[in-house]
Every structure is written in structure tokens, then in C-alpha cells.
Amino acid sequence: MDNTLERLRQQLAQSAPPKSRYNPQAGGAPNGGGNPMGNDTAALSAAQRGAIGDHVRECWTKDAGALDIDKQQVMLTVTTDATGVARRAEVAGSDVGRLSDPRFRAFAERAIRAIMDVRCANLPLPQTALGRVNVLTFRFTP
């Protein structure tokens, strides 16, 4: 019996290095929550997104006589605080390269001002989205 037990122990003894790899993400300071890629928007329903868009539209203005205004569009990445107030708005990466066009820059800055306007910055986020930072993606068209 001892021989059997001994044989079992020998079989179980490690004879090669482990195959699994260490987790480089393990440990470190926890992040502040939210999703830097703006994917908090996807967690909202269509109705919720519509309500937020309707709210911001109250502050959304355009320069109707600007050349080709009807063709303009800008994507913004907006970061809110835990209470749902927009604290930061910037042109999304996909549109940053267009900022060298003064007409586009003027259009984008109007969109940023619409989000940051004190009358519209308090976004109507659902209860489930409060209590944490949210990163949302907005698309502004005239």
C-alpha cells in the first residue's frame, strides 16, 4: 500500500514548468470606472438615447448661412460625473483630423458648447447609469 501511495505521489509530482501564463493585468490601482471607448452609450436603450438627445437639442444652435452647413456632422466623446452632469466634451478621434477645417471647427465648437451649456449639461441618464462616470458618444447634425 505504501508503495501504491508512493507511486501515486510520484505520478502527481511536477516534472515540467507550468503552461499557464501569468496575468499582466493583475493588481495595480483600480480605474475610475466608465469606458474610455464611449461604449457606455450602448448600455442605453434607444428611448434613453433619444431622451438625452432631445434634452441637448434645447441648446443646439447652428449658423444657417454657413457654407454647406447641411453636410456637416461631428462626433463628440462626452464624459459625465456620477450625477450625470457633462464635465468634458471633445471631438471624437474619428473627427479630430477635420479640425484643421475652420468651418468644421466652428461647427464642432458649437456642439461642445451645446453639451456644456448649464441648461443642458445635466443629462437625463437612467438611474442605472448614475453613481459612476459615463463616457458617451454623441453625433451632432444640423
Binding site: R49, G65, L67, P102, E109, A114
Partner: protein
């Protein structure tokens, strides 16, 4: 056998049912997968923007009276454009902010301002330094900062230049405040009017008369780069196109033609003048080289071809012609030929002018199903016709150099047989049809022409 068949049928049913489950509506599956993948297509749409001016606060610049005066001119320029709404100074929490320090944005946000101008004036007499900064109030950042050194007597022009910088930075298009208007100043009774060439800043300041009124003057136009005006004069009772040198005050006849020449305009490169030349009972469009005075006939239709105007790139010419029976607008290549009609509304069309932006042609329309005259715009292909203003007599549109504003003149009907009540004034309107405003002149005025920026 039957049992096997039934078994086979049941198996097929089961398989069909399973296939149905597998063929569940694709969008549901795709949406779930999309959400699981991060929903990169999910956005919050904000659309249907209102047309509204940008609220801007312009406190007096530091540096005493000159700072106040400069702030006043900037405020008037931006407010009169209709694209900016001045924040009432009575609502300012702080009267002004030195241009050197960042403003306390917590004091400016409650006023509703989205933009803020601060600045300072120092020096006097022959050397004055004017500096300003433009701030984006909501993010709390500076977006423009410029300084100018000039003489104290030039303060108005510096204010207009600063207004242009603010306009361009916030709207993305060139401004039009550092410009001048040349026009015909009219005095005297209606049946014996004296018409003089006159010039002023676009805000009606610095008005002065250029000719003495000995002869009738009409339809002045600015050279694109030089201080020269082309206009029609009835000097010596021979109606011809003349060039007026703003620097010297000299007038010279352009070309030597047997017939009447009129309705001149400079080519975009400034090297020639296009105009109408009477020819028997009609008129043709010709081009005259300013250097050699050589002329080239561009139309010869046997009808009345008048009021030519180049496109901003010089490749096309828009003009009015009655070659089709009544006066309409046509476009042809700059070398002449291939004219195509672009106006098809009710009535007759006249005085076409191409926007410096290239996107619109403005015109005068009259007759047809309307009793009044009207000023309108259309795209260069003739589509999208819009009327901007109407009246008993409105005509002669001219574009601001950024193509955003039109100026024209409006005549009022006489109240009595002696012509009492008759008058003529300049009017400006945004190309969207908003913000129609009278333009102040010391006398009756007509035939305005807008200078290039900085002229």
C-alpha cells in the same frame, strides 16, 4: 413500416423546428452581439438645431476712452451681423478683465455668454498698442490672442480688423467688417437729381463724396486688389465707363468706343474690365484689358446683353439678356459662347451678381405675377431660388466679400406729384433672409458696391 415513417416524420418535424429556432430573427441576434461587442454603432443623436446667434460679452477694453471706443465698434460690427448676440453690460458681474489675466469664468457663465473678449489699449498718438484675447467661456479656454500696433487715428480700422478676427474664429469664415462701400449719393428733386460718387466704411463711418456732381455717376465697382473704382459717368453728355483712382482722385475714360459703355465690373484677377457696349438697338458684352486697352467681344446676339459679372474663379460670366424674349439671367464661359438660361421664375430678372463664395447668384426680379420688385438669390445652376426682400423698388444687389450679406437699395414711392416722399436708401440683409437693416447715409443713396476685405 408505418412506425418507421412516423418516426421519420417526427424526426423531420423536430429538425424543422430546430431549424426554425436556428433561423431566429437575425436583427435580434445581431443587436445582442453588437451590444456584447461594445455597441460601437450606438450614438446619441442631436439634430434639428435652431438658428441662433452666439452670445458674446464685450466689456470695454482697458486703457480709457480709446478702449471703450474700440469695444463699441467691435460690438456694433458683431451685433449688426445678426450672428452674435451681445450680453447686456448691465448684467456683467465684473466690468472688465485685463487681457493679461485669465478671466474668472464663474463670473461670466451666469451672464449666458459663450464667448468673451478682453483687451487693453496702451500708448497714444503715433504709437498705440491694442491687444485682445478671445475666450471660450464654457470650457474656460483662450481661443485667440492678437496684438496690433498702429496710430491712434487708425483706431476704427483696428476695431474692424479685430471684429473680423473674432468673427472668423467663431464662425469659421472670413469676416467683412474691414471693408468699404462705394455708392451713388443722390440729392435734389426727383426730376433733377444730382448723383455723385461717394465712399464710406461698411458701418457708415468716414463718409466722403468723390465727384462734384457735375455729371451723373452710376454703377460703381471696386477693383479686387487696387484702390480703383470703375463706374459709368455722363461726363460731357457721353455716357462711358471711367476709372476713378482713389489715391489721386483722377478719372480716366476706359477705352474709346463709339457707342455707350456701361455696367462695368473688374475681372477677379483685376487685369480687365467687363462691361456692356451699346450696339444699334441692343448691347453686347465686351472685355477691355486694363494694360493694353484691347477689347474683346464676348456676346453678339443682336439682343440686349447687360450687367455681366464674373464667377469668383473667373471661369464663367453671369449676365442679363432679353435674347429669349424678355430679360432673364444667363451664364456663359468667360471666353463667351454657350450661354444657358438659369432663371425661370415669374417676371423679369436683372443685375445678376455672383457671390464671392461661388455658391449663389443674387438678382433683381420684377414684373410677372408680382407688383413689387424683389431681391433674391439662386444657385449658379438656377435651382433653389429664394426671395430675400421685396418692395416698391428694390434693386442692385452687391455681396459682402465673404458672401454672407447682401446690400441693395430701396426706393420709396412719391406721395405727391412733386415727388415729395420719394427717397432712396441702402439696405443690407443676410443671405438667409434674416436681419434686414437700413444702412445709414447722409443723403439718399443707391447703387452700392462692396469692397474686398481690407480695401
Amino acid at each position: 413500416m408505418i412506425d418507421s415513417t412516423n418516426s421519420l416524420l417526427r424526426r423531420r418535424s423536430i429538425l424543422a423546428g430546430a431549424a426554425g429556432l436556428l433561423a431566429a430573427p437575425v436583427p435580434v441576434m445581431s443587436e445582442a452581439l453588437a451590444q456584447a461587442a461594445g455597441g460601437q454603432s450606438a450614438v446619441i443623436d442631436v439634430n434639428r438645431a435652431r438658428t441662433a446667434p452666439i452670445p458674446i460679452a464685450i466689456p470695454d477694453l482697458g486703457g480709457g476712452q480709446l478702449g471703450s471706443q474700440i469695444a463699441g465698434v467691435i460690438s456694433n460690427d458683431l451685433s449688426n451681423s445678426g450672428l452674435f448676440r451681445l450680453i447686456d453690460k448691465a448684467g456683467f458681474i465684473q466690468a472688465s478683465a485685463s487681457s493679461g489675466d485669465a478671466p474668472n469664468f464663474q463670473n461670466w457663465k451666469p451672464t449666458g455668454a459663450q464667448a468673451l473678449v478682453t483687451g487693453n489699449v496702451s500708448g497714444s498718438g503715433g504709437s498705440v498698442r491694442v491687444e485682445f484675447r478671445l475666450w471660450d467661456v464654457l470650457p474656460g479656454t483662450q481661443i485667440q490672442g492678437t496684438a496690433y500696433t498702429t496710430t491712434e487715428s487708425n483706431w476704427r480700422r483696428i476695431a474692424h480688423i479685430m471684429a473680423d478676427v473674432i468673427y472668423e474664429r467663431l464662425l469659421g469664415e472670413k469676416g467683412y467688417f474691414d471693408t468699404r462701400i462705394v455708392y451713388i449719393a443722390a440729392t435734389g428733386p426727383r426730376d433733377r437729381r444730382t448723383k455723385r460718387l461717394a465712399i464710406m466704411d461698411q458701418d457708415s463711418a468716414n463718409n466722403r463724396v468723390l465727384t462734384d456732381g457735375s455729371w451723373l455717376a452710376l454703377t460703381p465697382r471696386f477693383h479686387p486688389t487696387r484702390p480703383i473704382i470703375a463706374f459709368m459717368s455722363y461726363a460731357n453728355n457721353r455716357p462711358r465707363v471711367y476709372l476713378f483712382d482713389l489715391s489721386s482722385g483722377r478719372q480716366t475714360q476706359l477705352g474709346d468706343f463709339a457707342g455707350m459703355t456701361f455696367a462695368p465690373r473688374f475681372a477677379p484677377d483685376g487685369n480687365s474690365v467687363i462691361m456692356a457696349l451699346s450696339n444699334g438697338g441692343g448691347s453686347d458684352i465686351i472685355s477691355v484689358d486694363l494694360g493694353s486697352h484691347a477689347s474683346r467681344r464676348l456676346t453678339q446676339s443682336g439682343s440686349i446683353d447687360v450687367s455681366p459679372c464674373y464667377s469668383p474663379d473667373g471661369s464663367q460670366i453671369v449676365f442679363a439678356s432679353d435674347r429669349g424674349g424678355d430679360q432673364q439671367i444667363y451664364v456663359m464661359g468667360s471666353g463667351g459662347g454657350g450661354a444657358r438660361r438659369i432663371s425661370f421664375g415669374s417676371g423679369r430678372y436683372a443685375t445678376p451678381v455672383w457671390s464671392p463664395r461661388g455658391d449663389l447668384i443674387a438678382f433683381t426680379r420684377y414684373g410677372g405675377d408680382q407688383s413689387n420688385f424683389s431681391i433674391g438669390v439662386m444657385r449658379p445652376d438656377g435651382s433653389g431660388e429664394r426671395i430675400l426682400s421685396e418692395g416698391w423698388d428694390v434693386e442692385g444687389p452687391t455681396f459682402a466679400p465673404n458672401g454672407r450679406v447682401l446690400m441693395f437699395y430701396r426706393e420709396s414711392r412719391s406721395r405727391d406729384p412733386r415727388g415729395g416722399g420719394f427717397g432712396s436708401q441702402l439696405v443690407s440683409v443676410d443671405i438667409t433672409g434674416f436681419n434686414e437693416r437700413p444702412v445709414s447715409t447722409p443723403t439718399d443713396a443707391s447703387d452700392p458696391a462692396w469692397s474686398p476685405l481690407g480695401a
